[in-house]
């Protein structure tokens, strides 16, 4: 579940960065159209990709339920962090991505 959580959180952060307003708030610049597309594509890829570790560990029925739970939790966490601690919200996503190979090694 941990790896799925890290990937979901990073995915939502990428989707968040694909919008003009949040990109401006977090990175203090307006994204170019290619950049925006890049963020959006990587966000969706991460979200979809996070299904795999959840299902691989717990099987289809339990895994999908866990994935849904983690999906909702990570979005909730990100949205609550954004207005208060934007830097932390962003660095958590980065740290999560860096830690995901370790999490993969431990859980899979």
């Amino acid at each position: 579940m941990l790896l799925a959580l890290l990937l979901c959180y990073a995915g939502f952060t990428a989707l968040c960065l694909s919008t003009d307003r949040h990109h401006g708030e977090l990175l203090r610049s307006k994204p170019s159209p290619q950049r925006r597309l890049g963020w959006r594509a990587s966000g969706w890829l991460l979200l979809l990709g996070s299904i795999w570790p959840a299902v691989a560990v717990a099987g289809w029925s339990q895994g999908l339920v866990e994935w849904c739970a983690v999906l909702m939790l990570s979005a909730l966490l990100l949205v609550l962090l954004l207005p208060y601690l934007p830097r932390l919200a962003l660095s958590l996503a980065g740290a999560g991505l860096l830690a995901s190979p370790v999490a993969a090694f431990v859980t899979l």
Partner: protein, 524 residues
Amino acid sequence: MKEGFRQAMAWLHTWVGLIFGWLLFAIFLTGTLAYFKDEITHWMQPEVQAHPLDDARSLAVAQAYLQQHAPDAARWFITLPNSRDPGLSVMWQDKLDPGKRGNFVQKVVDPVSGEAVLARDSKGGEFFYRFHFQLQMPHPWGRWLSTLAAMVMFVALITGIVTHKKIFKDFFTFRPRKGQRSWLDGHNAVGVLVLPFHLMITYSSLVIFMSMVMPAPIMASYGADTRAFFSEMFPATDNAPALGQPAPLQSLVPMYTQARAQWAGGQVGRLAVNNPGDVNASVNIFRAGSDRVAQDFGSMVSFNGATGELLRVGGGQSLPALIGGTFYGLHMGHFATPVLRWLYFICGLAGTAMIGTGLVMWLGKRQLKHARTGVMPYELRLVETLNIASMSGLLIAIGAFFWANRLLPASFAERSDWEVQAFFIAWGLSLLHAALRRGRWGWIEQLSCAALLLGAVPLLNAITTEQHLGVSLARGDWAMAGFDLTCLGSGVFLAWAAWKMRCRMAPQPTAERALGLNLTREAR
């Protein structure tokens, strides 16, 4: 035309949400607590000790106990201890006179010593579970009302998606400290981010009661004989009658082993022995609901109790039964591991917060219009009173329920009923208080009271039992320790909310913005 449709949906969302909001808030919060029903029961019956799990030993102990105390019963039920609920529970039903139902007697037995545990009489977490769909009303009115509330919730969710058209565009938006705007943001954020859970929990609650709400398909297929439907759905009700010739009951342990082999190592939840001591005794072994997501009531193995012969293996669902069982299982969350159970709990709190923020927003919008004159019309006063009593008052009632459990003496007559009375008395008093105290002060005082009640729970536990945090943590009894810590955490949070409201009150006594963020999370 399109705008007209959206306005109609907004009207429906507003009014349906207001009328049923108070009830739905209570249903959601108690239902959320019910995810930790076993843990709450464990805390409320601290006399039941946790032992390392050993099913064979527990089963032998239960059988010996029942053989000694209820050899002539019509039925025995045995529920084995598990990691969440350490009690070995045995129940029996007295012999049935024709046309009359025998009485049920339930005992908790210590799985090591084999003696009945003299646990205090308490409903435990079962109270919250029952309340969230029966609402403490006579059967079947509570079920009907809560099902109606579920339908209204479904309508409110769908109209909410239509009304707040920007929720998906503003997916990541939450702007605190901006008054009404923050409330709307918070309402939308907990609504849309946890939307899959909201839709699942609301729709599945309708599926659970489908035989009550929509009996037409059953009647069409089975005619007036609805019993036939239920014995097909729940095959365990279809057992051989007693012959009246005595025969000793075989040991249950080999049957238990055989049943588990049938499920490739699946866990046993409950055993039912019909007519123990008769030649025609039957033993039904049910699979634990924690094994799979989809609930399968037919998943059981049946034996002849006198010979030990395997009679039939139930289970294997048709597709519609599998879909229904999946919704049932998803709603109940019996299969959830500790982490997933906490996620369920958080989702439930988010749903509660969504309802709470909606109620506060309804009032806030209308109060603004009257802020200048300073005179509030009667109906807004009424809504404010009900808002305070239904949200912070419910928290006080929950705290009072836990306190009553520790303070009422064990020998008190009808003890468990008085715990429930304490819950409703506290709720009633908070309604009275909300009616007398105006506005913000009602909130602050009630939140402080709830904070005090819940925050002091670990202290209360330490004074009245031997199982304070030091002991439970050292022993690794996470249900007991987790309960204390969660109460402490909620108490701290509520105290923070009350303090925050008080701080914001001084400079701007009338402005709505002071409500700000506090209440968004107050709903927990």
